[in-house]
């Protein structure tokens, strides 16, 4: 299979008769090469190059200063058990008869729609950039830089993600993922407050949701 020295094979017949028999300088490398290919196959099949992907998270360091966010720019999302997602705009109205809590889910037509609607400013600013990048007028690094600037602008939506005691980790990851998809860079991950938990239980009771 794998003879290394080819060529020079013919034409020696007459000389060999006269001289003492020479040992061939060629070694049969077939077994070695077979083994080589076996190892190659093994390593190729067992190696996985793909590393798992990660979502980077930098939770806020606990401080006492509470930054006030403009009501019109704040969206609070409360993640609860059973994949339920509650949200309200601005400040929570603690009136049991007319609070501003709504229920949705984590599907494409659920919370994403809400966020995209509220995040109009950023999306509007990003649209021309996207177009420029598609027509190759903008390098990736320049695009990222401009995108970051837009996302950090003071008109960008601020999403407050809250969790109650029965929230599942998978929902938190899905929510953080939505932040990525909807180009929201300003978000915080904190615990739901007591009035909020009261309001969502109230909401569940009123609408017969389990």
């Amino acid at each position: 299979m794998a003879e290394v020295n080819t060529g020079g094979d013919g034409g020696h017949g007459r000389h060999q008769k006269r001289r003492a028999k020479k040992l061939p300088t060629r070694i049969d490398m077939t077994p070695m090469v077979d083994l080589g290919f076996l190892l190659l196959t093994f390593f190729m099949l067992t190696t996985t190059f793909s590393k798992p992907k990660v979502i980077e998270l930098t939770p806020p360091v606990k401080t006492n200063d509470s930054t006030k966010i403009k009501d019109t720019l704040a969206l609070t999302v409360i993640l609860s058990g059973n994949n339920k997602v509650y949200y309200y705009n601005g400040e929570l109205k603690q009136d049991p008869d007319s609070n501003n809590i709504n229920l949705t889910d984590l599907s494409d037509n659920g919370i994403r729609k809400v966020i995209l609607q509220r995040n109009g400013y950023v999306l509007q600013q990003l649209a021309p950039l996207d177009q420029q990048r598609q027509t190759q007028h903008l390098s990736d690094s320049a695009y990222e830089k401009a995108k970051q600037k837009i996302q950090a602008s003071k008109y960008a939506l601020f999403v407050i993600i809250k969790t109650d005691s029965v929230a599942k980790y998978v929902n938190v990851v899905a929510m953080l993922d939505e932040m990525n998809i909807c180009n929201v860079d300003k978000y915080a991950l904190i615990d739901a407050s007591k009035p909020e938990i009261l309001m969502i239980t109230d909401y569940d009771n009123k609408h017969n949701i389990k």
Partner: protein, 219 residues
């Protein structure tokens, strides 16, 4: 008139270049392959669309669906230092200091999730026994009562990884700073994950990498 010689081609082909290439590939795959130790705990990680890859030099805390916590750290040298520190400071809980042999075994061990009281036994067990211990164990304690053991592991581990990085980064620019990854099961309660994050924040860790797998595009 000279005879017209037809060039006689030898029936065997010169395979030297192919074999060379094959062995080159073998060498490459052999050197790049890192055998992964068997997972101590089975975790179904959630999906995301994130494109960021998991960095090197990472400490991983795994949380399974029942909320059990497992700890793992990259780097053999830092692992040796870590277990020595733990062995020195918590010998009473461990039931005596660990032997040099135990320390070497810990250095090459994968993730583990046993409290101090069972650690010695776990290190000295073989694969089968470890598997049994992993299924029975309740994970590393994260409650401050009686003792928050995860905080010790995280604190000492992170400090050692940091100082190791400081030592190495001047000589080798490719050494990355230590990162902290959380590999939690999708069905784990977020409360447990939050508790782990809190413990790590107290140890001075600010950035976390939540391990996810790529979402398949829906058609």
């Amino acid at each position: 008139m000279p005879k017209v010689k037809l060039p006689r081609s030898s029936p065997s082909i010169d395979m030297t270049p192919m074999v060379d290439l094959a062995f080159l590939l073998v060498t490459f795959f052999m050197l790049t392959t890192k055998f992964r130790p068997e997972e101590a705990v089975s975790v179904t990680i959630p999906f995301s669309v994130s494109q960021t890859k998991l960095p090197d030099n990472v400490t991983t805390v795994s949380i399974d669906s029942a909320g059990r916590v497992f700890y793992d750290m990259d780097g053999k040298d830092t692992r040796i230092e870590l277990i020595q520190k733990i062995s020195d400071n918590f010998s009473a809980q461990l039931g005596g200091k660990l032997s040099g042999d135990d320390i070497m075994r810990f250095a090459v061990m994968g993730a583990f999730g046993v409290p101090y009281s069972q650690l010695k036994q776990y290190i000295e067990s073989n694969e089968e026994q470890r598997k049994a211990m992993n299924t029975q164990s309740k994970g590393i304690p994260i409650d401050s009562l009686p003792h928050d053991e995860l905080a010790d592991w995280v604190q000492y581990g992170y400090n050692l990884a940091l100082s190791d990085w400081y030592d190495k980064k001047d000589k080798n620019a490719q050494v990355t700073p230590p990162r902290f990854a959380i590999k939690a099961d999708g069905n784990a309660k977020y409360e447990v994950v939050k508790k782990v994050i809190d413990i790590c924040q107290k140890a001075g860790i600010q950035h976390f990498d939540l391990i996810t797998s790529m979402k398949m595009k829906k058609n």
